[in-house]
Amino acid sequence: MELLTIDIAHLLAGALVLASFMLLYQDRLSGLINIYTLHAVILSLSVAWQAYYQNAPHLYVTAGIAAVFKALIIPFSLRRIIKRLRIHRTVEVVGGVGVTMLIGIFLVALSLVVMLPATAAADPLAREDIAFALAIVLLGLLMMVTRRNAVSQIIGFMSLENGLILAAAGANGMPLVVEISVAFSILIAFIVIGIFLFRIRERFDNVDLLELDRVRGGR
């Protein structure tokens, strides 16, 4: 029974990492959003499982937030936004998926190398969890770096943040997880609204580089 719980937690965390890889791989925006939804769902499941395993009721709230906010509201609004901005069909050019994948795998390895020896003391569930979480964080960052499209970068950030929530949930009996997840949800809400407000189509800085040079040369 004990083992089973751990295995399930593992399964979920692993699935999350897998989802991050899929995000790295996916190049159609709408597809990205779907995968992100999946990501969020898995997150909420694993958080819920953690809640059950640590029988920490407040984690259920976090799981709830994840399920409702990240798996429903965010994807919904994102879809509307990309429709509004007429970029829902854009297929962005992701240079060298293979290389990205390799780097991703390297990052996972790195996170394991960094984390496992570090967390020797912690209980097994926590340590694998945190290792996976680190992997997800790094992958999210990698995605932000490799993608040029604003929305996909946002999604990268959100996956990164999912990793954080996973870590927070995984840390046994860590207080304030709810507050933190709430704070983060606000942050993300801001970002999404930001995209919408600032009408950012292609990239965060929606002017081409030459333009930038001209503007900033004098700064």
Partner: protein
């Protein structure tokens, strides 16, 4: 803990919060400016009161020698800035760059920023501190973007994204710290409280701490504006309203620095963990020299001083990285002096930009001729910031350089190199702006020079005479920092 409600520290956090709500409801900008001013003033008084009352430790807030330095400093600058922003904002409304709704929003955000920063400083636990800093980021983002010009939005957005990534990294570090503490302190709240953490730090798992520190250093370092995470800082300073530039340089950077220092202490307490010094020194030197070179190509006056903030944050990080009583003392002093001076500079720069109707350095000439008060105060500010006596930054730079050279001559050389570079750049620009044939003025401003004079005279005083209380207090803190 009902008695905690009546604690002074609560007031320091609470008053701005209340004021923020009040200001959100107040439509008249004049009145709201006054409310803003009063609120900041009262907060400052309460912060002073913290000095008198015995150190308190309530559930979520706590006061010790270290953070009280920061609290007093930030509330004071918050107060003077509110005085300044009254006249600044008035001019902005007259010229129609801001609407009264903007201003209403601005004031509310200003107070909530104050609240968030005080909370971050007083927070007794790492999670709460993180939340507070995150809120502070959000509010500043909104204020930076307040002008709604493309550049302002771009700056805000850049700041937002880089800031959020930094915040995320910091959170991960926080979680790791908790996980490092949890086996010793047991699950739950205690494993996040500074006091207990500091006591038990020696037993923590060092490798965990190392990883955590990497994340925290990069995460909060982003907010400090250390290279290579500095990119948000110049734009945010340049495009936002000047009071906010002053607050950013004078306060927010310090708050982030405070967080870094706290965690540095944690690591130094643990013998087995890596010594955080070298990392801080490296980042510090990198920021110093990078910023020094960047200063030469600046065409925008506010960006110029933003980069100089990066430079000084580099110096401070370097000093704290060196450690030891002298260097730490110097670091604290330098931080205080830099906050005062830099905000003073931004005050006068704001008015100068209003008078000249531009932020382009090339179009600002002969200020001492056309605008004696502004011009000479700019000269005084720059002279102070490039570390010339008898102003306060000279003392700290003296201590940093000489103590470093005595201990690590090879480290002192890049330091001095960077300082000289920055000196040259700022002096060059100053000569162009303050002297020569004056360029024509767009319009007159009712400049409120009071805050500038207040800051500069404080800096001057500190350069000549440091009251013994302050010294002993700083020395305690320096000892605390190890």
């Amino acid at each position: 803990m009902s008695s905690d409600l009546f604690l002074v520290s609560n007031a320091v956090v609470g008053i701005p919060a209340v004021a923020a709500i009040a200001l959100a409801l107040e439509p008249k900008y004049r009145r709201s400016a006054i409310i803003n001013l009063c609120a900041s003033g009262v907060t400052f008084l309460f912060a002073l009161a913290l000095l008198i009352v015995e150190p308190e430790h309530s559930g979520y807030l706590f006061v010790d020698d270290l953070n009280i330095v920061f609290v007093v400093l930030s509330t004071f600058i918050g107060f003077t800035t509110s005085v300044y922003s009254a006249s600044y904002i008035e001019h902005e409304i007259e010229t129609g760059r801001l609407t009264s709704t903007n201003v209403r929003f601005y004031h509310a955000m200003y107070q909530s920023l104050m609240c968030a920063m005080n909370l971050a400083l007083l927070a007794s636990n790492i999670g709460l501190m993180w939340v507070a800093i995150e809120v502070a980021t959000l509010t500043t983002v909104l204020m930076v973007g307040i002008y709604r010009t493309p550049h302002a939005l771009e700056a805000a957005w850049k700041y937002f994204i880089l800031g959020s990534v930094g915040i995320a990294l910091a959170l991960f570090g926080t979680i790791l710290i908790y996980m490092a503490a949890e086996p010793i302190l047991g699950q739950g709240y205690d494993a996040m409280v500074w006091t207990t953490l500091m006591q038990q730090a020696p037993q923590f798992n060092p490798r965990m701490l190392n990883v955590a520190f990497v994340f925290l250093m990069l995460g909060y370092g982003t907010k400090v504006g250390l290279a290579p995470m500095h990119a948000w800082l110049p734009d945010a300073h340049a495009e936002g309203p000047t009071p906010i530039s002053a607050v950013l340089s004078g306060l927010l950077l310090n708050v982030a620095l405070y967080a870094v220092l706290r965690f540095k202490m944690l690591l130094t307490a643990n013998a087995a963990a890596i010594t955080p010094g070298p990392l801080m020194i490296t980042l510090g030197l990198a920021s110093l020299i990078m910023a020094a070179f960047m200063l030469y190509r600046r065409g925008d006056i506010k960006r110029l001083f933003a980069y100089s903030s990066i430079e000084h944050m580099g110096i401070i990080a370097f000093a704290f990285g060196m450690g030891g009583p002298l260097a730490n003392f110097a670091g604290l002093l330098h931080m205080t002096m830099h906050s005062l001076t830099k905000s003073a500079i931004f005050f006068s720069v704001g008015h100068i930009a209003q008078v000249k109707g531009t932020q382009k350095i090339a179009d600002i000439r002969g200020l001492t001729q056309s605008q004696p008060a502004l011009g000479w105060s700019l000269v005084a500010g720059v002279v102070a910031i490039i570390g010339l006596p008898p102003l306060g930054l000279f003392m700290s730079e003296f201590l940093v350089v000489s103590s470093t050279f005595a201990r690590q001559p090879l480290l002192a050389i890049p330091l001095v190199f960077g300082l000289l570079l920055a000196f040259g750049a700022l002096l060059l620009r100053l000569t162009g702006m303050a002297f020569g044939e004056p360029s024509h003025d767009e319009g007159e401003v009712k400049a409120s020079m009071l805050p500038v004079y207040a800051h500069l005279s404080l800096v001057l005083l500190a350069g000549i005479y440091l009251p013994s209380h302050l010294v002993t207090w700083f020395q305690n803190v320096a000892r605390l920092l190890g």
